[in-house]
Amino acid sequence: MSDLGDLYRELILEHSKAPRNFRQSPAATRKAEGFNPLCGDRFTVYLTIEGDSIRDISFQGSGCAISKASASMMTQAVKGKSAAQAGRLFESFHRLCTGQPHSNADAELGKLTVFSGVSEYPMRVKCATLAWHTLQAALEGKQETTTE
């Protein structure tokens, strides 16, 4: 039996209650909206791209603790990174959430490894990855994405 504590880790709860970079950014150069039709989670991710790097990132919206904490920690993790680096981080994060982490996942993901418990809850993978899908869409210049 999976333990709830593996999913709702302290750091996740903390971020869900006090999300970082949780604001609109009217000056953003790109934004995309992500929507999970199954549970109604909805986030907008705002990006300010300078050259190839993510100079600023923020998000707004509503969702469950997992999706909100994931969005919050994502904004911290990708700030200052290039689009390609962010893409690789998402790939690694996705593998973590689906229970197939890279062997060097700890080094790649740092604090994001608190989401490893999600792999025990397949129904929640979409929650953990919604903000990341939305970031990807914003980087690719799409306006909207859904996790369906």
């Binding site: 999976s2 709830l4 709860l13 199954l38 549970c39 989670d41 969702g63 469950c64 603790a65 929640r124």
Partner: protein, 416 residues
Amino acid sequence: MSVAAKSVSGAGFDVERARADFPILQQKVHGKPLVYLDNAATAQKPRAVIEAISRYYEGTNSNVHRGVHYLSEQATNEYEEVRRTAQKFLNAADPREIIFVRGTTEGINLVAQSFGRSNVQAGDEILITGMEHHSNIVPWQIVSDERAATLRAAPINDAGELDLEAFSKMIGPKTKLVAVTHVSNALGTVNPVRRMVEIAHSFQVPVLVDGAQAAPHMKVDVQALGCDFYTFSGHKVYGPTGIGVLYGRAALLEKMPPYQGGGDMILSVTFEKTVYNRLPYKFEAGTPHIAGVIGLGAALDYVNRLGLEQIGAHESELLRYATDTLSAIPGLRIIGTARDKASVLSFTIEDIHPHDIGTILDQQGVAIRTGHHCSQPVMQHFGVEATARASFGLYNTKEEVDTLVRAIERAREVFE
């Protein structure tokens, strides 16, 4: 006091005995006894239904209305017998008024396409309410868009009750049909359907009733309600998925064009002209879900045997008990507080998203539904993205409500 004695409620309804009829309820989920409180999504199946379906496939399987051989005659007889069971279940005047469909969704789509297309013109209106399931919204939107007609929704108040006065005022000479849910799946509200039919009929407007959430919980009498169409799903009345019933008043059905074309719905076909079959076959194109019909018959027999009044009384008591105990939980808000409610308890908890509630409850064996319940306009009305919803069936007990409450307390601990 013994558990059995505690659980006998209502007019001597023996819930422990009923529970024993449902094999699935005996299992554990995540190491905890299953507490199934997602009955509004679909109900579990009693052994009588499971066995009727097996018996059909093992002993009777054959196509209906086609063969001259023994099995086909048997299958046809059983199939038609269920039509009469469904007729009695709804107290319809005539078995020809009972059409087998895939479920409520198909029942509504049939009426929308067949009645809607032949009766709705540009500038006309179709009236629904603010508490409909998407399946009683979208089919009307499709027809309205096609016909340049307007879909209107009568408002609901903050308790989740229909504003009957506003509803009356929205009916007029342009209204071609009223479509209303008997019981709201998101809120539990029981609508005053009989009164609504009276109002609509005073304008000569026919009424379709979505009975998906009513049929499992109360005795339905379409003649007493006076409605023109009534539809429900087998799987919510302890029957199989993929089968349901549409009742339609014969006088209306006679005039309606077919919904789908194919075998069974015709009397004769040439390339120039097809003569449609009589009712109800005109609306049952192709080989039907025969095993589903047999299973539905067993399900209706089952609830009839237990008695819908007894079932309803038992569930009302559970709903009252659950409403009282959940209301005492700090931060818990009940969404849908109509005076007349059935089976459904929708709620939110401050600072805990319904999706997280759902996961934490599931870990304790408690199955509820979370999300918008296919009723996004209802969520918008109450200013929430989603709710958690417990919905009760005939086999649920007060002890299970207590488990629900403990599971909610656990969720509050996690999020403290």
